[in-house]
Symmetry: C2
Subunit: 212 residues, 2 copies
């Protein structure tokens, strides 16, 4: 397998975590988003959308969208499971993942921030306020869900799809100086994940294309 | 089952389609988003986040996030299936759904448009340009995926999770005068869906809380 990705991309980071948790080896193909490599022919032949991550399977098939890729990995390589065995648990884990992937991250990714600055003429402080607003709102929802059913990770005693999404979001939040006070369950789940080698190996600073 | 939802909410519409495709009866509980009912105590006791849809199961459990709800319905009520039988097909359908649910809709929902207007002081034309930009970009991605593997619906010969997400997005796009030219496969899938009673019964104008 080959993963087209970028060390800083939060959606790429989710998939790297899942691959590491499953113990699956993969070729790391860097696509430098900040330099616009996703819009150059080399990559648009891989992804017409110019989005990372793309997971290329050994048969050549290319999978897109991080949550869909992780669900695929969980079906093709069931151990260790990244979704609970019961339907209600799966619904909860997917909903947690979607708080991050549908409520927070889409508003704060690079192309959206660029639109704010270039098209809406937002200054640095307005851009940062936007970023922090959606992070805070989303993580408060996440915290409310976790507080209702406390557990060591986001759901249960092992990492799930939800944690694959949470951890990159917290990395982003820290980078943009977001307020993480009052989120004890969320930060405890983050800390529990970061104790694990899989999360450490997947983090941006461990990537071959990392830049400080 | 009870569905807390709003006729105009695109994420609610997705779940209504799935319920109709499965032939499942449900109680319709309207939450008037434009009047702010989602922030009033009656509903914040149901959803701390103040987001619709929420599907309340007969046992009292409440499910959130439209894609997670639809996956649950597909597991609990497998016929007719809303995901293909093969893992690669499921990955494709989920990725299509996520183009809508992670790339387009989060940028254009009501609370985001309100932020643009109230915090970033965007005027009507800037707000509409923002809306149309993300719809166009996302639907072009969707079209590229569909053109690569043409079929009557978004994937295969029956409606899937992807169509549950696509149809409400096209309704929104039409409402905001988005350019839908050059999307022949996407619009053919939309038209195929709208031939079906399930999609017609789920549409905003068929909802008990509909307002013209």
């Amino acid at each position: 397998m080959k993963l087209y990705n970028y060390f800083r991309s939060s959606a790429s980071f989710r998939v790297r975590i899942a691959l590491e948790l499953k113990g699956l080896g993969y070729g790391y193909v860097p696509v430098h988003l900040a330099k616009g490599e996703q819009k150059q022919p080399g990559f648009t032949q891989v992804s017409a959308e110019g989005l990372v991550p793309v997971l290329e399977l050994d048969g050549g098939q290319r999978l897109t969208q991080s949550m869909a890729i992780i669900e695929y990995l969980d079906e093709a390589h069931p151990q260790p499971p990244l979704l609970p065995a019961d339907a209600a648990g799966r619904a909860r884990v997917r909903a947690l993942a979607q708080i991050i992937a549908c409520e927070i991250h889409p508003l704060n990714n690079l192309r959206v921030l660029k639109y704010l600055v270039h098209e809406l003429k937002a200054g640095d402080s307005a851009k940062n306020a936007w970023y922090q607003h959606w992070v805070r709102l989303g993580l408060q929802s996440y915290e409310a869900q976790l507080a209702a059913h406390p557990s060591p990770f986001s759901h249960g005693s092992t990492p799930t799809l939800a944690d694959c999404c949470l951890v990159p979001q917290i990395f982003n939040a820290q980078r943009f100086d977001c307020d993480l006070a009052g989120l004890p369950r969320t930060m405890a789940a983050f800390d529990a994940c970061m104790q694990l080698g899989a999360f450490q190996k997947a983090q941006p600073s461990a990537c071959p294309d990392f830049e400080a």
